[in-house]
């Protein structure tokens, strides 16, 4: 292994080191769908550290005890950009009381806004939501004779993702439907932290199967295990 590679393997850090970049008021982007694929050890660490006034950007509000749900339930979140909050009733109550600002985005539009941020683009053109409230506050452009909404790209101060396996360079492999927003979110953080079920040596992952190249990943932490609970429990 050359010197550069050795330096790069410094990406594997303690939970405390990873949490040091998540401070009051940061914009925090997260992977996950109904909590499945949201990094549970990182969320628990953020909660225990007492971070406040977060802006969260991700698909949904989780459930009260799953995904980012506990951050919302424990009043750590000032603002949420999401597609759906129905699975976390506390989020709806806080929104109605004016204690949580929520911006809704159609799910595919949110995914592409995050992907655009991660890909270094300024935004996307999309016709989904034309003629609905999704138009509100959006510039419209005609391209090729068709109307589109201009949806600005999204990046975040810190992005957190869950991967089934990570190697020492931060190359990531996901598992089944726990992939969801994770590969997009992984690219859109100014700092991205991957929580991995298993951390493996270089060469242990087949390069053909790597979904997120490690160049997008700044830190890797070992997961203490997934704690997702599902609707059937």
């Amino acid at each position: 292994m050359d010197v550069g590679m050795q330096a790069a393997t410094g990406k594997v850090v303690s939970l405390d080191r990873a949490l040091s970049v998540i401070t009051d008021g940061v914009a925090l982007m997260y992977g996950g769908f109904g909590g499945v694929g949201t990094p549970p050890t990182l969320v628990e660490g953020i909660l225990e550290k007492g971070v406040r006034n977060l802006t969260l950007i991700g698909n949904d509000a989780g459930m009260p005890e799953v995904g980012v749900g506990p951050l919302i339930v424990n009043r750590r979140v000032a603002r949420l950009i999401a597609t759906h909050i129905g699975s976390n009733p506390v989020a709806g109550e806080l929104m109605h009381r004016g204690e949580l600002e929520v911006e809704f985005s159609p799910q595919g539009t949110l995914a592409e806004r995050i992907r655009a941020g991660g890909m270094g683009l300024g935004g996307i053109l999309v016709d989904v939501g034309l003629g609905t409230v999704a138009e509100k506050g959006r510039q419209q452009l005609a391209v090729g004779g068709r109307s589109y909404l201009v949806e600005p790209a999204l990046v975040a101060d810190v992005a957190i993702v869950y991967a089934a396996r990570a190697d020492l360079l931060g190359n990531l492999v996901y598992e089944k439907t726990a992939r969801n927003f994770n590969p997009l979110v992984a690219m859109a953080g100014r700092v991205t932290i991957a929580e991995a079920g298993e951390i493996v040596p270089l060469g242990a992952l087949d390069p053909e199967t790597i979904v997120t190249p490690g160049v997008f990943i700044d830190m890797v932490v070992q997961s203490r295990g997934i704690k997702w609970k599902w609707s059937w429990e």
């Binding site: 759906h84 969801n180 979904v211």
Partner: protein
Amino acid sequence: MGVRERLARRAAREIRHGMVVNLGIGIPTLVPGFVPPDVQVLFHSESGILGYGGRPRPGLEDPYMINAGGEPVTALPGASYFDSAIAFGMIRRGRLDMTILGALQVSARGDLANWLVPGRRVPGMGGAMELAQKAKRVVVVTTHTARDGEPKILAECSYPLTARAAVDLIITEMAVIEVTPSGLVLREVAAAYTVDQVIAATGAPLRIPPVVDRYGEDEGRA
């Protein structure tokens, strides 16, 4: 068989062999149980799988495998996994043959409102805007009227829209109604109801063709 199951069973008859189909949460998730075994379908979920199958036996659920409603599912032979951008690229690009969705209101032009009850319930649109606007065929399953008895099928929706001119077919416990460029057409009336009852419960003009089929007459049979 309850109302939810009867609606799901009627909706399942819209599905043809070889289709790519997305099911919304609620009643639509019951549809696969009524698709005949010789009709092979690729079910799409926004959670990032194409080709999912039924619920695993209790104890065999995979924590990494859910559909859009958060229910445990299995992967059938030929299934694929993908991220959320691709899940919605499939929808936006027109690769879905059909979506079956719930509704709060549907208008005579096929406008759909199904994501927000002003002042009461604000769950968010999730993927409903993409599905309603971009699936080749949009089938709505819903009770004919709201809990307070108000019609859900209206000349104009009063709730914020999910998509304009999106719905092709409305299936309720009373009737099956097609949305056409010239308005709503009554296609079928459920066995327990009359055409007049359907008209009275509908808040938009309904064209009654010379032949209106019955549906649900074999209910209760094996």
